[in-house]
Amino acid sequence: MLRYIIKRLIYMVITLLATVVFLFTLMEFVPGDPALVVLGEGATEENIVAIHKELKLDDPYIVRLTRYIGNLIQGDMGNSYKTRQPIAPALFARLPLTMTIAVWGIIVGTIIGLIAGVVSAVKQYSLFDRILTFISLFGASAPSFWLAMLFVLIFTLKLGWLPATGSYTLKHWILPVATIGLQASATITRMTRSSMLEVIRQDYVRTARAKGQTQFKVVISHGLRNAFIPILTVICTRINGYLGGTVLVESVFAIPGLGNYVLDGVKTMDTPVVLSGVVFICFMCTIVTFLTDMAYAFIDPRIKSTYGFGVKRARKRAGLVAKATEGGNV
C-alpha cells in the first residue's frame, strides 16, 4: 500500500515539475516588455532600465527558471507586475471560494447525476429516461453564465428570494452552486447512465436477483457499486475542470475566485500572475487526481489487492471468523 502511495506521489512531483518548466517556457514567448506593464503608459527610458534591473529581467533563461522553481519550493510565487504585491497570499485567499463552488457544485451534481443516471438506466427508454436525457443535453449545452443569469433573473429579480451577487452567507452560495451543480449533473448523469446500462446486463446482476435480493439492493450494491469507477473518473475530471473553470459563474456572482484572478492577469499581461496562477491550479489538479487514484484503490478490489491494500484487515477478518468457528464448534 505504501508503495502505491509513494509511486503516485513521485508521479505527482514529476508532473508538477514538468508543468512548471513548460509553463515558464511558454511565458517566455509572450511578446512585449514586462517593464511597460509595470510602469504603464508614461514610461521613460530610464524607468524601463531601472525596472529591468530591479526585477532581474535580463538574466538568462536558466537562471530565471531555477530561481522561480527555488522560490516556488519555499512558497514564494513571485510578485505581480501591476501591483508589485506577492501573488501567493492572493491565490490562497481566493482558493476557498473557488473550491467551495467547485466541490459543492460537484456534490450537488453527483447526487442529482447518480440518481438520475441510475433511474434512467434501469428504466431505459421510458418517458422518465427520455426527459432526463433531454435535461442532460440542456444542462451540458447551456452556457454556464447564461444559466447563472437565468437563475438571477428568476430568483433575485422576479421572486426576490436570493441575493444577486456575493458570497457572504449560505443563501449567497445557493445560486452559484446550483448553476455549477446543474451543469455538472449533466455529464455525470450521462456517464452514470451508460456505465449502469453496461453493468446491469452483467451476469452477476442476474446472480444477485437469483439470490432473491431486492431490486433496489441489486441496482445499488451490485449495479452501481460496479459501475462506479468510470463515474468517479468523470467526477474527478469535472472537479479539475471547475478549479479554474468557474470563471463565468464567478463573474456573474462577483465572487473573486482563482479563474478570474488569472484571467485578469492575462488581460493586463501580468505574466507572473498568469504563470503562478496556472501553476497553482495545476498543483491543485494534481492533488485532486492523486486523491482520486487513492479512491480507486479503495473502491476497486482488484487494485486494492494488487497493491496490498487492506491485506492486513482481510487477514484479521478471516482470522476472527476462524476464531469464532473454533469457539462455536462447527
Binding site: 452483467q202 451476469d203 452477476y204 442476474r206 446472480t207 444477485a208 436477483r209 437469483a210 439470490k211 432473491g212 435480493q213 431486492t214 450494491s221 451490485h222 457499486r225 460496479n226 473502491i299 476497486d300 478490489p301 482488484r302 486494492k304 489487492s305 482481510a314 487477514r315 477478518r317 478471516a318 471468523v321 476462524a322 469464532a324 468457528t325 462455536g328 462447527v330
Partner: protein
C-alpha cells in the same frame, strides 16, 4: 399435485416480444419434477432450456419477455400468481440456480464470503457473524479453504468460482437446484470435479436437481430422467436408461448418431442436416419436420402431441406413436 411432486409445469409458453418480431422461445411444455429426483434437460443452443429454467424463478426480463400461457406449480403454489415479494422469498431459498459462466457471475467488488453471506442473511434471521460462519461452512463444503472468505472473485480460478456459486446456491438448503450448463465454460478435468460436487451435495441435502446441458454423457451419469427439447418443445422424455436404450424421436436419434464413438472407426461425424428453425418464424406442424428423414405431409401440418408410451417414456412424433400403437 401428487404427494411426491415438487415442481409441475403445464403448457408453459414464453415469448420475447420485440419491435419487429416475436420470438417464440418456449411453446407449450409440460413436465414434473419429483422430490429428490434428478432430471436432465437436453437440447441444442436456442432450444429454450435456459428460458424455461429462468421462468421457474420468474427471472425472465419482463420487457421483452412474457409468459403468455401455462402454470408453474411449486409445492402446490402457482408461481404465476405469486407476487414479486413472495418470489424473492423463494429465490435462493426454495429454488436456487447456478449459471453457465462462472467468470462473470460473481460481483467483482464483494468478497466471496460476503456474497454467500448475502443470500444467507436474505432468508434467515441471523446475526452478521452467524451468517459469516455459515458462509465459511459453505466454502469448506464446496472444497475451498475457509480462510479465503475475505478474498475477491478475481483471485479465484474458474472452477473455484463455480464452486463459490454452488455454495451460494446451496447456502439456504433449497428444495430444487437448477444448474444451467454449470460446466460448459470449464475444462474437462474441472468439469468432473464440479459435477461430482453437485452430486455429492445433492445427496447430502436431498434436493431435486434440474440439470440443463447439451452433454448427453453427463446426463447419463448424473440424472434419473431426461427431457429433450427442440424449438421450445419437449420432443422426448423419460427415464434415462429407457430413452438411451430405446430412443424413438428422429431428433434424439440424430443427436446420438452425431456423437463421436470410440469403438467405431469413422472419418467424418454425422451431424443432423439443416438448422433449427428461426424461433420467430416457426413452421406449422412438427418443428423438426424440415430436417427429419421420416417427415411426411401430416408432419408438416399437424403438431404431434407429447404422448406417453411405455413407462414414463413420452414421445412427440407421429411415426413413433403410430409404430407403438401398431406394435402394442
Amino acid at each position: 399435485m401428487r404427494e411426491n411432486e415438487l415442481l409441475s409445469i403445464e403448457n408453459l409458453e414464453i415469448k420475447y416480444i420485440l419491435r419487429r418480431s416475436t420470438v417464440n422461445a418456449v411453446n407449450g411444455i409440460s413436465f414434473t419434477i419429483n422430490k429428490g429426483e434428478r432430471v436432465g434437460l437436453v437440447g441444442e443452443t436456442g432450444a429454450g432450456k435456459t428460458t424455461t429454467a429462468l421462468s421457474i424463478l420468474k427471472l425472465i426480463p419482463e420487457p421483452p419477455g412474457k409468459i403468455t400461457n401455462g402454470k408453474i406449480m411449486l409445492g402446490g403454489r402457482n408461481l404465476m400468481e405469486t407476487s414479486e415479494k413472495e418470489m424473492r422469498k423463494i429465490r435462493g431459498n426454495d429454488v436456487s440456480m447456478v449459471f453457465q459462466d462462472p467468470m462473470t457471475s460473481l460481483s467483482p467488488v464483494m468478497t466471496v464470503g460476503d456474497q454467500i453471506m448475502e443470500v444467507v442473511l436474505l432468508h434467515n434471521d441471523m446475526s452478521k457473524s452467524e451468517a459469516a460462519l455459515r458462509a465459511r461452512e459453505m466454502l469448506e463444503l464446496v472444497g475451498i479453504p475457509g480462510e479465503r472468505y475475505a478474498e475477491y472473485p478475481h483471485q479465484f480460478s474458474g472452477g473455484m468460482k463455480q464452486r463459490v456459486l454452488i455454495a451460494i446456491a446451496l447456502a439456504c438448503n433449497p428444495k430444487l437446484l437448477i444448474a444451467d450448463e454449470p460446466t460448459s465454460a470449464l475444462d474437462v478435468t474441472i468439469q468432473a470435479q464440479v459435477l461430482e460436487l453437485i452430486a455429492e451435495l445433492r445427496e447430502k441435502f436431498n434436493m431435486s436437481l434440474l440439470l440443463i446441458t447439451h452433454d448427453l454423457g453427463v446426463v447419463s451419469e448424473t440424472c434419473d430422467r431426461i427431457m429433450i427439447m427442440y424449438a421450445g418443445r419437449i420432443v422426448e422424455s423419460g427415464p434415462v436408461r429407457t430413452v438411451y436404450k430405446n430412443m424413438q424421436h428422429p431428433y434424439t436419434i440424430g443427436l446420438f448418431n452425431s456423437l463421436p464413438r470410440l469403438d467405431i472407426d469413422t472419418d467424418r461425424l454425422e451431424p443432423i442436416k439443416g438448422m433449427m428453425p428461426d424461433p420467430a418464424n416457426l413452421p406449422a406442424g412438427c418443428a423438426f419436420h424440415q430436417r427429419c428423414p421420416q417427415a411426411d405431409e401430416r408432419c408438416a401440418q399437424e403438431l404431434p402431441p407429447l404422448t406417453e408410451m411405455e413407462n414414463g417414456h413420452c414421445i412427440a412424433c407421429f411415426h413413433a406413436i403410430d409404430k407403438e400403437r401398431s406394435d402394442g
